[in-house]
Amino acid sequence: MRLRTLILAAVSAAAMASPALAQSLTAITGGRVLTGASVIENGTVVIQNGRVVSVGTGAAPSGARVIDARGKVVTPGFVAVDSGLGGSEISSVSGGQDLRNAANSISASFDVSYGLDPWSFTLPVARLGGITRAVVVPNHPGGGGGGHAHDDSDFAGVGHAGFQSPGLFAGQAAVIHLGPDLAGGVADILVRPRVAMVAPFGEAGASVAGGARGAQFTQFKETLAEVRLYARNKAAYDRAGLRDLSLSRADLEALIPVANGTLPLIVTVRRAADIQQVLRLAREEGVRIILDGAEEGWLVADQIAAANVPVLLNPISNLPGNLETRAARMQNAAVLDAAGVVIAIKGNEGSTHRAREMRTNAGNAVSHGLSYESAIEAITVNPARIFGMAGQFGELRAGAAADVVIWSGDPLEPLSDAEVIFVNGREQAPTSRQFLLRDRYATGGEGAMPPAYTR
């Protein structure tokens, strides 16, 4: 018998129902603390009332619950970007899929925040990968990272790779946390709705506009012009005194903050040539952008840096999956970072079910030239910074949300486990639906009583 014990499983299953309270004073001591911005050996992280109280090397305050993290690594919870967490249970099942929308009158105004499910079974799985926050984006053509569908099933046109949004804009992203109180309080995971607008460019964007990139850029500029016209003439619009506009009123409203540069636009774009065009477009139109994908970004790294534009990327995208990623390289993250670009590292396949792989993606970026410090920043402080929430999460510093993870070792290593997980100061049971299944069949499933009697 190679199983040490099954008791742990029973304990964790029981704990699932009653997460620890967020109020209690807790000190995590003795660990190697990666704050997100620096490293503290033998550090002490104190949390209370859902927030980080202090991070340093002092002793635990009296009365605190002390968690001994000697030999462990302590990090802020990771922040998944370009994610679908909470918005999609099973990718191919449309009924549980609230990240895509195909109504012509709701494109830019599509707001994913209403469809997020605190009870989603994707959340505990991602949490076990050390993820405590996510930027959830609407599905969009060309999104989700990489052009390869799982298990060769894309032949039938399923999966978001084949998805076409009706408009130039896919909708608006939201920030969530992954520690809902499911014990009877208000189970809310929404941190902030409408943190960014999403729009595909490159091949995917061109296909929305009719096929050619030139058409999309023209349509994009025309759309912004209409938005500005609308914004200046709302009263006329309301009494039908304005010429016809191509978007619905809801979409026009949603685009006003994009047009005036207050709401960032996540631009999914891959080809170096397209990145240059998008940078120019943003400059000309006064739009604030965040590049997403940017597989060929390393070819124009200095231009991206000069424009002060951050990048969400997957560092393991190194194949020419199509004609706009022919220069994809494992070194993309390292080159962009070296040029001074603020990068955030994504998980795989839309960072929903495989969001947890963002930490090994970061590790692979390190093995291809990115500094370890930058890799940690790219999954902690940088995402918060990029979405305008620096200091609020993604970093262990006084005042930030108490999202803390204690790791058995280097968090970028696949052999390391997230052993203790706090979200907003609330300790999360280290379990998931997957763990329950695993434990049910741990002894082979051939006992006298069917496995269904085990929970």
Partner: protein, 492 residues
């Protein structure tokens, strides 16, 4: 007398099909010899007797230039369960000559390769790849992995779709992959034959094809066939339609095989007309073609096992075996490998119950055969990491699994899963010298394949651009020839 001679000849031909190692020599037999064995009967016209030429697209694999060498000082995972510190791997004439501790004698004339501080493993084997058939770039004109025109396309061969210029072969090699099984996709109940290739650059498919390796037959359970054909208002539209389709296929194959067997036996009447679809299924029935069965759910695996008994064939492996852990003891008893991911789940209903500890749980019973596969041009580059994640999941639930055991999931077990364990998959005397020297423990995310040897020939060297091949497609493309940052790098 005449019938006895005929019988002998037909048995020899059949034996040649069964023992695929002789397949490469099958073509050497002059047609005249076969004709004479049938006495006064005319031979079938060229191409009408499948057994007369069981290897019509023969391997021309030569291997890369090689030298005799001794890899010394590294930590060796031999793939067969051993861990040897300060180990020695002797490679002679492209084969492993000896593996042992520091005292293992190094023959005179062998180049000594210093692996101190590094790790040595067998070449990684990916049992589920679509490289070349779903290549990069995946653009119009290049999607050659699914003959999704009929639920039974057992007649098609993946090797006929394989584009050797897929850059993914190079990136896989940089991740330590030396052997791949390339399969058709899963749209059909019977998707067609798979082929095993040596991962060296080649202008032709034949130049990569592994001599003597058995073909696979890709079969698919579950959602994909029923969705594809149900969506066309065709059968199968359901799980029961799937099962009826397999049974109809094997009924026809049994009938076809019996006719050929009879004709070969007594030589009377007209010979059956050769049928490529049924020939493949006959190959499954005689054991020369291995069933590689895309099958997610445990209940479907149990049904497929019953199906195999109904028609008298064996299933070699269940692929994407998401729920293998639910029937791990059954699979172990049946001697069926489960080829799995670690981290993929939730992309469709039949992938809902995935657990990261799947491989560890399949590996646990005596005789269990756990394999980590990719099905993906990115994941194939990091099968060592996917294995590390699987190992971690097993340990997290209290299982005591060593690294030297877990490495088998992508080496020896993988070789078994595609029927080439006699040839490769472990560093044992007599086997092909498929070897990876890693910069660090391959269970670490930071480990890189420094050198990759295929049959003792250096196929990739992370430090030497001369051994970082690029495909024709990659030449002159955006970014070509530029070095990204100041990073010592392999291809891409």
């Amino acid at each position: 007398m005449r019938s006895q001679r005929l019988r002998g000849a037909s048995l020899a031909a059949l034996a040649c099909v069964a023992l695929t190692a002789c397949a490469t020599t099958g073509g050497d037999t002059p047609a005249d010899d076969r004709t004479s064995s049938r006495g006064d009967r005319a031979a079938l016209a060229t191409g009408l007797d499948g057994a007369a030429n069981p290897d019509p697209f023969p391997s021309t694999y030569r291997g890369l230039p090689r030298e005799n060498m001794a890899i010394v000082g590294g930590t060796v995972f031999d793939g067969a369960g051993q861990r040897i510190e300060n180990g020695v791997v002797i490679v002679t004439d492209g084969r492993v000559a000896a593996v042992g501790g520091a005292s293992t004698p190094v023959p005179g004339g062998h180049r000594v390769v210093d692996a101190r501080g590094r790790f040595v493993t067998p070449g990684i084997i990916d049992t589920h790849s679509h490289l070349g058939v779903y290549p990069s770039p995946g653009v119009q004109g290049m999607s050659n992995g699914n003959e999704a025109t009929s639920p039974n396309t057992a007649q098609v061969w993946a090797e006929h779709s394989l584009w050797p210029q897929d850059p993914g072969f190079n990136t896989a090699r940089a991740g330590g992959v030396t052997t791949l099984h390339i399969l058709p996709g899963s749209a059909n109940l019977f998707g067609g034959r798979g082929v095993t290739v040596r991962n060296i650059p080649s202008v032709t498919m034949q130049g990569m094809k592994m001599p003597g390796a058995p073909n696979g037959l890709k079969m698919a359970c579950g959602e994909n066939p029923s969705r594809v054909y149900g969506g066309r208002n065709q059968s199968p539209a359901t799980g029961m339609g799937n099962m009826a389709g397999y049974r109809a296929g094997f009924i026809a194959a049994r009938d076809y095989k019996a006719k050929w067997d009879k004709w070969r036996e007594d030589g009377e009447g007209s010979p059956p007309t050769r049928n490529l679809q049924l020939e493949t299924l006959s190959g499954v029935l005689d054991g020369s073609i291995l069933v590689q069965n895309h099958c997610y759910r445990a209940d479907e695996m149990a049904q497929m096992i019953d199906l195999s008994r109904e028609f008298g064939f064996r299933i070699t492996a269940f692929h994407h075996a998401i729920e293998a852990y639910k029937v791990a003891p059954l699979l172990a008893r049946e001697g069926i490998c489960a080829d799995m991911w670690t981290g993929w789940w939730g992309f469709k209903m039949e992938a809902l119950d995935a657990v990261e500890a799947n491989a560890a749980l399949v590996d646990a019973p005596e005789g269990g055969c756990a394999v980590i596969h990719s099905d993906d041009p990115e994941l194939t580059q990091r099968l060592n990491q996917e294995t590390a994640a699987a190992l971690a999941a097993g340990r997290r639930m209290g299982m005591d699994i060593s690294e030297e055991r877990a490495i088998r999931w992508i080496t020896l077990n993988a070789a078994r899963s595609i029927g080439i364990a006699d040839e490769t998959g472990s560093l044992e005397a007599g086997k092909r010298a498929d070897v990876v020297i890693w910069s660090a423990n391959p269970f670490s995310v930071y480990a890189r394949a420094d050198q990759v040897f295929v049959d003792g020939g250096l196929a990739f060297d992370r430090m030497n651009p001369a051994y970082q091949p690029v495909s024709d497609f990659e030449l002159g493309q955006p970014g070509f020839g530029l070095s990204a940052a100041n990073v010592t790098q392999g291809a891409r």
